[in-house]
Amino acid sequence: MSDLHTELKKSIIEQLNLEDMEVSEIENDEHLFGDGLGLDSIDALELIVLLEKDYGIKLSDPNQGKEIFNSINTMADFIEKNRTR
């Protein structure tokens, strides 16, 4: 697991108040929304903030989020390709 994957899991747990969840409990390919972690629409908005704040990526269209936030893997891929910091 890359540092970015671990870093993302840590910040997701912290930013989205996923109480009692450990980094090791989130699988890289697990769905973040729906059956997986069960995140909701406001969590998705907080993830958009996280992308901008931590990686300098601005999503112009929130619908893009659906694919990017599919799993930790998809998020990490997207960040690697687009990060400005």
């Binding site: 629409s41 406001i42 908005l45 958009i48 903030v49 929130p62």
Partner: protein, 394 residues
């Protein structure tokens, strides 16, 4: 006589500074959407329904002393109620006139302006209490010397619709003979940034009910109605009647509307029941229609559930004014009463394609039509859904 009489109204919004100008804008499809010039925001690229009068210009128009402490919402509210007063049979409002005002933002604009001055600048401290929404209401009441029952309703975007509902109830129950109801909200950084963080602001003019709609435009406005008991009417012109109202909680999400539009469905059902009307009696609907993906779909689903295959003519006027939050219910109550009085349907601007899910299309051009009964919807954060029914005075 059915319903509570409306005997006066006054309005200021991005499409006009009085009833007449507002009506002409609605009639000729002239929207009030622009980029922010008066609101000090860095989001200069987000279109808003801004009233192009600064606080000092408003103060001058209202002949206020320089050291006043009115919030922008209070200034706009006074401006609108002055028109109401001028059009009423009173030189000044009788002292026992009630006042129920809706606002979502209250005086947050003053907190934004002066928060960092409070510590070192005692002169600015008068604005500390302005943060409380009740302050704005009380300043307006003070201006007009109102001493009756005064209260503020803050239920986000249904605030002033609830103020109208409450006023009608107070008159029905005999607690008040006469009450000014409505609401006022101004643009703030608080709301612009907040709605922007929810990704529900469009960077273009909003397109309510369009398949490609991508968000709302915020706006600012004040709108007020005078409601009076039968004994007070004495031959005055009755502009229309509030005959039905209903409120229900959507019980779905902090801010988003449910997929089946349950809250809206229940609010409309209750309003129809209160007015003792059936679905076929509704001639025209002023929809909440904010232009967000979520609201317009949820509201459309609710309309289909209520009206089946026979959804009446409907239109959202948010494309004209932007979403004026706590003032929206009162602004659209005034549009509804104008529609009844003039026999006109005002268009839903910027619409081109029906949404795939429901296939519903709003009224897109100005049309003459005899309208006896209007439904007006206002849905707020926290799941607070309100529907009002206005009828022609028979």
């Amino acid at each position: 006589m059915k319903g509570i009489a409306v005997t006066g109204m006054g309005i200021i919004s991005a499409i006009g500074r009085d009833i007449e100008e507002t009506h002409l804008s609605l009639k000729y499809g002239k929207n009030g959407i622009s980029f922010p010039e008066i609101l000090p925001t860095k989001h200069k690229d987000l279109p808003v329904g801004e009233i192009k009068l600064s606080n000092s210009e408003l103060s001058e128009l209202l002949n206020l002393p320089e050291d006043h402490s009115y919030t922008r919402a209070a200034l706009l509210g006074i401006y609108a109620i002055k028109e109401l007063l001028e059009n009423s049979a009173y030189d000044q409002f009788p002292e026992d006139t009630g006042f129920i005002s809706g606002t979502s933002i209250g005086g947050i604009d003053m907190t934004e302006k002066h928060f960092y001055d409070y510590k070192n600048n005692p002169e600015k401290r008068k604005y500390i209490q302005a943060q409380h929404p009740g302050y704005t209401t009380e300043k307006i009441a003070e201006y007009f010397g109102l001493n009756g029952m005064i209260t503020t309703i803050s239920t986000a975007c249904s605030s002033s619709a609830n103020a109208i509902m409450m006023g009608a109830q107070m008159i029905e129950s005999g607690k008040l003979m006469r009450v000014i109801v409505g609401g006022s909200d101004c643009l703030t950084k608080f709301t612009l940034n907040g709605f922007n963080s929810l990704k529900i602001l469009s960077t273009k003019n909003s397109r309510p009910f369009d398949n490609a709609r991508d968000g709302l435009n915020l706006g600012e406005a004040a709108g007020y109605l005078m409601l009076e008991a039968e004994d007070c009417i004495n031959g005055k012109t009755v502009l229309g009647r509030v005959s039905g109202y209903g409120n229900a909680n959507d019980a779905f999400h902090q801010t988003a509307s449910s997929e089946n539009g349950e809250g809206a469905f229940q609010a409309i059902s209750k309003a129809l029941k209160k007015a003792n009307l059936s679905t076929t009696d509704i001639d025209f609907i002023n929809a909440h229609g904010t232009g967000t993906k979520n609201n317009d779909l949820s509201e459309s689903v609710a309309l289909k559930r209520i009206f089946g295959d026979k959804v009446p003519y409907f239109s959202s006027t948010k494309g004209f004014t932007g979403h004026t939050l706590g003032a929206a219910g009162a602004v659209e109550a005034i549009f509804s009463l104008l529609a009844i009085q003039k026999g006109e349907m005002f268009p839903n601007l910027n619409f081109s394609t029906e949404m795939l899910e429901t296939g519903l299309g709003p009224v897109t051009g100005f049309q003459k039509k005899n309208i006896n009964t209007m439904l007006s919807n206002s849905f707020g954060f926290g799941g607070n859904c309100t529907s009002l029914i206005f009828q022609r005075n028979e």
